[in-house]
Symmetry: C2
Subunit: 127 residues, 2 copies
């Protein structure tokens, strides 16, 4: 099985971020690609991590929070208090996300109302 790897610019293109961004994530301890000399070699695991970072960002996590989650997840398999802490953080974040989701629903509803008022005022063409 010929372990497929990626260069930094391949990943940059695929996820539409700059190479600078990817190196920055490494500085922050979010990625640890292997090296071939100087050059960074990204495994599929690194690629998955990058996906997780970007999804984390989309839902409003800071890079620091993402890193804490990674660290906990990596360490959690062994230690019981670690596992409990992990659960605690996840529960807290779940609650925050739920509140955010409620906010979004409210705003979506209001946008819908305002828009239909606007469209009515313009002579009821469909959007």
């Amino acid at each position: 099985m010929a372990e497929h790897t990626f260069s930094i610019s391949e990943l940059a293109r695929e996820f539409d971020v700059t190479t600078r961004t990817i190196r920055f994530y490494e500085d922050q301890g979010l990625l640890e690609p292997q090296r071939a000399g100087q050059r960074r070699i990204y495994s599929r695991r690194d690629r998955v991590r990058l996906m997780l970072i970007l999804r984390g960002k989309r839902i409003g996590l800071s890079l620091l929070e993402i890193r804490e989650l990674f660290d906990l997840y990596d360490a959690a398999s062994n230690d019981e208090p670690q596992l409990r802490e992990f659960i605690r953080i996840l529960s807290r974040k779940e609650q925050q996300l739920q509140e955010q989701l409620d906010d979004i629903r409210v705003v979506l509803g209001e946008i819908g109302q305002i828009r239909s008022q606007c469209e009515k005022a313009l002579g009821k063409q469909a959007s």
Copy 2:
């Protein structure tokens, strides 16, 4: 009807922000309270605006975006192209919010799975 008004620190307490934050929003053109000499006097309309600002922030709008929405909303009653632009912006934002909402649902699902695995590993006590 004795138009109730608010001081800056009343609003700060109510919404759990600092007075610095409220003055900053004014600098950015998001609030325009009246003055009694130097002092700022906030009407109920100002209070509503502050609520909208904070909700906008919670769903991930920048202060600039919030301001653009305010400006458009204020100007939209008159002008037809303004109204159309307003609708366009709202549609775009609605789509972004919908995507964000989908992301959140995915992550909530994953958190649920991970957590139940963790709990199983700890001997299935309820959370």
